[in-house]
């Protein structure tokens, strides 16, 4: 099975007072559509944006993005 980049942004937003995609997008400096694409795994962001997202949630980048086999269960 191929590995892929998965992320926990949706859960992290929920844990941060249900932060909206727009609020996260504004904090990171990208469009809301880009956050939507990242959350759905349709777009892998640059390292800079990945670090900015982690920074917004004040956690390490590996807590936001993981490179592993997707668990669909």
């Amino acid at each position: 099975m191929a590995k892929m980049i998965i992320n926990t942004i949706r859960r992290l937003r929920f844990d941060h007072d249900e932060m909206t995609q727009k609020a996260l997008a504004d904090a990171v400096g990208v469009s809301r559509q880009t956050i939507v694409a990242i959350e759905k795994g349709k777009y892998s962001p640059s390292l800079e944006v990945a670090f900015k997202i982690a920074d917004v949630f004040t956690i390490n980048i590996e807590q936001v993005f993981q490179y592993k086999i997707e668990d669909n269960s």
Partner: protein
Amino acid sequence: MSYKERSIWVSLVALVYIWFNYFGEINTLHLAQQLTVDAVNDLLFDVVILTIFLEIVLQIIIVIIDNKDANYNEDERDKLITLHGSRYAYGLLSVGVFLAVFYTVFPTLSSYVFPTIDLPNAYKVMHLIIIFALAAEIVKFSTQIYYYRRGF
């Protein structure tokens, strides 16, 4: 639909409308045997004016509809999508330029390119480039829309 995607749709529709009209007029004049250099120049002037007018008016309408994102700057995903669109467009345009050069170097080929159109060779070469540039723009916009729809 994002502001950027809407803007691309508008540009694509305006482009197709304007050039469809242009080539429609060219065809009509050709069938009526009234296709002259002056007529082509007039039509090209109309295309320039219509392009400026439509782009300005339609972009203003988009801003009115979606004024929140009007000052939005492209982010990295927008830039990547633009680059992908430009790459395909560049390939197609390169073919057009190559054909135009080939056609200019070997004028005997004129009987194969627009054979029934009675215009100077320079105008035939110009139209060859216009057709490929137009196709390139359509490919660019379509590719961008595809990536915005499908996700990137």
